[in-house]
Symmetry: C2
Subunit: 218 residues, 2 copies
DNA sequence: GACAGCTGGTGGACGCTGTCCACTAAGTTA
DNA sequence: TAACTTAGTGGACAGCGTCCACCAGCTGTC
């Protein structure tokens, strides 16, 4: 992001005082890049400051410690996962309530989740490695639509009920088994014991998981 | 494991040359203890050597680097998970082939898995964090019974087929969706976004996952 | 039994990390 | 303009993984 010789990106500006929030945002962006290529452990504070072109201690003006920076990076990574899911769902046509469309949309969620875990293993691992102190927000709820991964899954399951595919009485709390099944597959295949499976085999296994879900939901 | 003042556990032996394999085994044991309380990141080489009462470099006589030690610790942790599952299954009575017993044994596997993840979060996380270079062995297969977690799951599913609960044609590859569902729940609830769920809620969610499985298998 | 060779320990050093403290310059407000 | 806050710098520290040189004790052979 910057040459080691010159203190900042722009060679003209010699030192000190970048625009408001620039350093902070830069650190998060740098951390995200590090996480992308090396997972959460690769988010090293000094390296991030180097990329931004600032001295290590400058980070402490914006974050209490490394974990707080990491937490921010995790949040951003989770956001990218959510985006991926949203675009996947949006690609499925067919109006709300149509049984086939509802099934496809749920499937799209799972496919996007698994694809993200496969193509961005560093970010995926980071998204789920929020340090202890800076816990997850357990969803904002909010008035509008909840764009978190869990929120999107809930919406898809609700539609499955609306479409008459999933029995209303089974709906309560079923997001957790469903989420678990997809998440577990992503973890086992991405970083866990199944990570060395050849591509074809991995694809088969992933499909089996989605099929199991599709079948188990009605 | 030893007082910092004296170099070894036994105060008489002043220094040098412990019995064959003792230091190596001690390092793994120490690493396991560290992993138990703090997860894989807590397995720090220097601390392990301190616990054994040996100088940091001594570790390099037994392991190429820290990752190799960690890999050994991971293996041990996985072994403890397998033990837990085996004893859980063994507690279920009823002879092989009985439908109810087969169902109970599968359930016992899931319950043991989730219990281990909950009660030993450090070891559980460690078991699944084998460093890249020292990959999982993808099961020995072997002639006798396979005591790995996956092997035990397979046995339980086979019994489910024998008992006529699970259709033979659905058997192939179904261990992966099943494993994923349980593993995903363990991860989400233990270290993931659901880790702050109150006990009662977490229990309900875990049960939902097991019920989903039980229902989905026929 | 002396001697060579291997094995497994020691001591010291290096570069990297996260973090703390003191300091200072730029921007903001009175 | 003076006082105050904000956001950067510089230097230091301990702890980490790892490398190199060294050396003590065990082992096997002539």
């Amino acid at each position: 992001m910057t040459a080691p010789g010159s203190p900042a990106d722009t060679p003209g500006a010699e030192r000190r005082r970048r625009p408001r929030g620039e350093v902070r945002d830069g650190l998060v962006a740098a951390g995200l890049e590090l996480a992308r290529t090396g997972g959460p452990d690769a988010v090293v504070l000094r390296e991030a400051t180097r990329m931004v072109g600032v001295v290590p201690n400058a980070a402490y003006r914006h974050f209490a410690d490394r974990d707080e920076l990491l937490a921010e990076v995790c949040l951003a990574a989770m956001g990218q996962l959510a985006d991926r899911m949203a675009t996947g769902v949006a690609r499925v046509r067919g109006k709300h309530g149509d049984p086939a469309a509802a099934r496809h949309r749920l499937r799209a969620i799972g496919v996007a989740y698994l694809a993200f875990a496969r193509e961005e293993p560093g970010l995926f691992a980071t998204a789920f490695s929020v340090p202890q102190q800076h816990g997850y927000d357990t969803a904002p709820g909010s008035n509008g639509t909840d764009r978190t991964p869990l929120g999107q899954l809930r919406a898809a399951l609700d539609e499955l009920v609306d479409a008459g595919v999933l029995d209303q009485r089974r709906r309560t709390g079923i997001e957790y088994p469903v989420w678990s099944a997809v998440h577990g597959m992503a973890v086992l295949v991405g970083q866990g014991p199944l990570r060395d499976l050849p591509d074809a085999e991995r694809h088969r296994v992933e499909e089996a998981s989605l099929a199991f879900l599709n079948q188990g939901l009605g």
